[in-house]
């Protein structure tokens, strides 16, 4: 308990929120992309009748089911944690942000959940057309969900359209300005592209893994090819979107960009781009900085000699933790560039007609399989830690947002979350990896061969086939 007394409730509550949301964000960023991929696969199957598409559909559907279940239960935790651990924030922001979250639940969660059962279990019950509709509804639901939750997050970064009342609450004045707040369009595009990239890298990595074992596997060839097209198209778009998002951040949250760049002091005639270095927050300097003169001004202001302010123009109490933001930003950008590289390499290999034979490309694609998740987490850390020390940027401090709880209560809940998340989601990720390890094959459980629609069919006993059990008796 002596250690606990050193730590305050705020730190514990932040650790718990960071930990639980870090786990949660991984699952939707995969399932947003995967839901769209499944809709594309099923649509291609309906349009062409080619067996490989329905095989791949069933292959990825089993993985989607697990990822989605983990997303649902970890998301449920998030929707209550605002209240349990951040009650002052909830009281203040509820009138503005509550309705957006309510819209997310009503337009997205129910749509996903309502049609997920049909998507997973219902192919033989509802026919192909309605099943395609169910798959589409799940994909649309994940998109709506991203729309609303990114709007909420963006409002916390760039609040707009609000007033305040006598109780100190933010109250809505203009809903359009609230939903479409200044950073929202940029953040939404950046996040959705990130989800597509994450999925493309996972699908491409799994395809490459099986190509390395069997170059002739039709499913592996198709998924690898589709993923590489996606990567080659989306990675450049993402770099453009990220750049635009960065300029938007410079306009609205300059201190965050200063931390990303490691600019502790202002540069009146052209700021250098610090490639690497060791930011020292206390000394307000970047040690061992390796810099390119004036490049930062060129990127951020499109002019070599443009002046850029540094953190010395911001009160120290409003500085974000610079080293974290500085490093997470570099990890994200580095991985983005690597993604672009793999995409271009795949185009080259495809043009040479050696897409399925370039084993080094396959090895690199396998290595890059999890890169999307790392980049999403790094990007999320950049933007959320860069928002500190505020929950609502410039208006409500993190230190003033927490619930009136006692240290033992939050310490024990944090411990419980860590132990349970690591074990439960660790097992889930293991199950997903096991599914990925098995090569896609002909007759992947599907309706046309009269086999069960999913997972349960892999288990030894035919009696556990859920699709058969669910047939009406009459």
């Amino acid at each position: 308990m002596s250690l606990l007394s050193e730590i305050d409730v705020l730190t514990l509550a932040r650790a718990q929120f960071g930990f639980t949301v870090a786990f949660h964000i991984v699952f939707p960023s995969f399932s947003i992309g995967l839901a769209s991929y499944l809709a594309v696969l099923e649509g291609l199957w309906l349009a062409t009748g080619r067996e490989v598409f329905i095989n791949l559909f069933h292959y990825w559907l089993k993985i989607f089911a697990i990822a989605f279940a983990m997303g649902v239960v970890s998301g449920l935790v998030m929707s209550y944690q605002f209240g349990t651990n951040w009650s002052v924030y909830s009281d203040r922001t509820g009138p503005v942000l509550g309705p957006l979250i309510a819209y997310e639940v009503m337009s997205a969660f129910f749509l996903e959940a309502g049609f997920l059962g049909v998507m997973l279990f219902g192919m033989k019950k509802v026919g192909r057309g309605l099943h395609m509709l169910a798959t589409l509804m799940v994909a649309v639901g994940t998109g709506f969900s991203a729309f609303w939750i990114v709007s909420v997050n963006s409002w916390m970064q760039t609040p707009a359209g609000y007033g305040t009342n006598a109780q100190g609450q933010f109250v809505p004045l203009d809903w359009w300005a609230i939903v479409f707040n200044p950073s929202f369009p940029y953040r939404l595009v950046h996040m959705v592209l990130a989800a597509y990239l994450t999925t493309a890298l996972v699908v491409g990595g799994v395809g490459a893994w099986h190509l390395l074992r069997d170059r002739a596997n039709a499913g592996a060839r198709t998924m690898f090819s589709m993923a590489m097209w996606m990567l080659a198209c989306v990675a450049p778009l993402q770099i453009l979107a990220g750049d635009a998002h960065g300029l938007n951040t410079l306009a609205h949250q300059p201190a965050k960009v200063m931390a990303m760049e490691g600019h502790f002091r202002g540069h009146p005639d052209g700021a250098p781009l610090i490639l690497f270095g060791l930011p020292d927050q206390d000394a307000a300097t970047v040690r061992y900085a390796l810099e390119v003169p004036k490049l930062s001004s060129l990127i951020l202001k499109h002019s070599l000699d443009a002046a850029l302010d540094g953190l010395d123009s911001v009160p120290r109490a409003n500085w974000p933790p610079v080293p974290i933001v500085f490093w997470s930003f570099r990890i994200m950008v580095g991985l983005g560039v690597a993604m672009l590289g793999v995409g271009l390499w795949s185009l080259w290999a495809r043009w040479r007609g050696r897409l399925y034979e370039t084993t080094w490309l396959h090895r690199v694609a396998v290595t890059m399989g999890p890169a999307g998740f790392v980049a999403v987490l790094a990007g999320w850390i950049t933007t959320e830690v860069g928002r500190q020390p505020f929950t609502v940027y410039g208006l409500l401090r993190t230190a003033q947002s927490a619930s009136p709880l006692q240290v033992p209560a939050v310490a024990s809940s944090l411990l419980a979350f860590v132990v349970i998340y690591l074990s439960v989601f660790g097992m889930g990720i293991l199950y997903i990896l096991r599914l990925m390890a098995h090569a896609p094959h002909r007759g992947e459980e599907g309706p046309e061969v009269g086999l069960p629609i999913r997972a349960a069919g892999l288990t030894p006993a035919p009696a556990v086939d859920p699709d058969r059990h669910l047939q009406p008796a009459e």
Partner: protein, 335 residues
């Protein structure tokens, strides 16, 4: 009696509806989880699981709507109640984590299926108990300081809240048992019938005990029940509970398959109405009314537009999903 008054009342009913939809729908899911240890490993458990697998996720979403709706329409209540019920809510969420992933994981990992079956049952038990405890803790009163929770970390734990916790576990087990009677055949249905009888009696006893204890907690509760002429209306609730209990036991003994489930839901509905009579128009009993906790009018209107359009649509496709998976969940289907 201005428009804001009406909107807050409307929102109180919308959220009450969402919470009741959750209790009704996830109640039988959690109930099936509670009964899992009594089912034989293999066919019986697989059938029971398959009867709820396509719908559990939608059912649980009503809990998200209840929480999200409270945050949006009554942020002050959300900010006071959730920290007050910190431990039971965290326990409920973690219980639901185990319950939710077990649906997928038990099929994925046949070697550890026994473990995930325990996780499924244990998660359901923790979630049900925690929800009942949270209800009891809310009823017995929450300390408020300023615009926040003003009590300690163990305030939620009392004999009364423990008793409501156990009551809800028994009630969910009843819903699960009658669900199995309706949706399954053979030995699973017979087990459901025995369990429905046992948990039916227990639930009726608990409803009586909680009903007797509640007016004693707070003079305001008693006044809302017994004041003249309200008593003419409120007295119908216990009378209907008696009638429903008798009908429930009779239909169950006669071998009916649907009626016991519907009557068990009816008993839940009546208890819920009773709860509403005790609390309304407070949202934090004895402390904060729905009008004090309400969001500004523009927040409530903005959401009401969406809710008015979307909730009927949600109900329509939820009904469709239930319809697709209707009928008996046979042991080996019609093959």
């Amino acid at each position: 009696m201005n428009a804001a008054f009406d909107l807050s009342t409307v929102w109180a009913f919308v959220i009450a509806f969402a919470v009741f939809a959750y209790v009704v729908m996830d109640g039988f899911d959690l109930g099936v989880g509670l009964l899992f240890p009594s089912l034989r490993a293999g066919e019986e458990r697989n059938v029971a699981m398959n009867s709820i697998a396509p719908v559990w996720d939608g059912n649980e979403t009503w809990l998200v709507l209840g929480g999200g709706g409270l945050f949006a329409a009554f942020p002050l209540a959300y900010a006071i109640i959730l920290p007050a019920l910190y431990a039971p809510i965290v326990a409920m969420l973690l219980g639901l984590v185990f319950r939710g992933v077990a649906f997928e994981f038990r099929w994925r990992d046949p070697h550890h299926r026994a473990f995930w079956d325990v996780a499924f049952a244990g998660g359901s038990l923790v979630a049900a108990l925690a929800q009942g405890i949270a209800l009891g803790a809310l009823l017995q009163g929450i300390a408020v300081t300023g615009r926040g929770y003003g009590g300690g970390r163990w305030d939620w734990l009392t004999p009364f809240s423990l008793f409501t916790g156990i009551s809800l576990v028994l009630g969910y087990a009843l819903l699960g048992a009658t669900w199995l009677v309706m949706r399954t055949e053979g030995t699973t249905r017979e087990l459901g019938r025995r369990m429905a009888f046992r948990f039916g009696i227990a639930t009726i006893v608990c409803i009586a005990a909680v009903s007797a204890a509640t007016p004693l907690l707070d003079a305001a509760f008693a006044a809302r029940w017994f004041a003249w002429p309200n008593v003419l209306l409120t007295a119908q609730v216990p009378l209907l509970v008696v009638l429903g209990s008798v009908l429930f036991l009779r239909t169950l003994m006669r071998g009916a398959e649907r009626a016991p489930f519907l009557l068990a839901l009816g008993l839940f509905g009546l208890s819920y109405v009773g709860l509403g009579i005790s609390i309304y128009p407070d949202i934090v009993p004895g402390r904060v009314t729905i009008w004090e906790a309400a969001s500004p009018r523009s927040s409530q209107i903005f959401m009401l537009v969406g809710a008015g359009v979307l909730i009927p649509v949600i109900l329509a496709y939820t009904a469709y999903a239930y319809w697709v998976f209707r009928g008996k969940v046979g042991a080996d289907g019609y093959h």
